[in-house]
Symmetry: C2
């Protein structure tokens, strides 16, 4: 198996609202149209997908209850190249309709980090640290 996540698909309650948030609010590029019923963004490396939550669950199995409750269990991280960018991205997300659930701050592992949620309550960490290195394609050296 190649070590690769091709797509991360978020199951969303209102596809149009989420499409607007990620496309217009955060500025993620896409060729997708709402009529397609599923949206893929041209995020580098791994693509971000949006799909109605009930349909996503049904795609796995009609027996799955699509209801979500509590912590979804995962976070997405956007690592920035500068500390200032953390503040800017969180402001951008808030302006777009997201909620800053952890204001940017120095954290125990030595970075500067904050969290926002999108309209479905999925968590994005926006983080910078002096010691994180980037590859040419923007991916992290780990």
């Amino acid at each position: 198996m190649e070590a690769r996540i091709s797509i991360i698909t978020l199951g969303v309650i209102d596809l149009e609202r989420s499409f607007r948030f990620y496309k217009e609010g955060l500025g993620f590029p896409t060729q997708g149209k709402l009529e397609d019923g599923i949206i893929f963004f041209q995020t580098s490396g791994t693509r971000l997908g949006l799909y109605p939550l009930d349909k996503l669950a049904e795609d796995v199995s009609p027996q799955i209850n699509a209801e979500r409750s509590g912590f979804p269990g995962f976070t997405l991280a956007h690592n920035t190249r500068t500390k200032e960018e953390v503040d800017r991205v969180l402001q951008l997300a808030e302006k777009a309709g997201g909620v800053v659930v952890k204001p940017p701050q120095m954290v125990f592992w030595g970075g500067y980090s904050g969290y926002f949620t999108d309209q479905d309550g999925y968590y994005w960490e926006v983080a910078w640290a002096e010691f994180w290195e980037f590859n040419k394609d923007g991916s992290l050296v780990v």
Copy 2:
């Protein structure tokens, strides 16, 4: 904001078990050690991270209840270059301790796809379709 997901971190119940599943079972490369308390895999594009579920929730806010129930709301997709690879990856995942929750089959959008879950119940779709194109780095053309 650059359109990029740097890391997807899965909150896991048993870090050692998950580390084994992804490293030894699926063969994902990593420089990480269990003692680090957090593991990053060198998946291309977006890095896969593993972190104890309660700590992940706490990282957002001590007020968050880490309890998960129901559908986590998202799926990870691994798109393969051949149809046969879908079968092979699902067999690999099962051998490693995952559960095949949707056997590989032709699906409505014209692809060949199945799903497995890891030990924490996170969903991986393994899919192939004639019309999906890959960039040189293995990422999907969308």
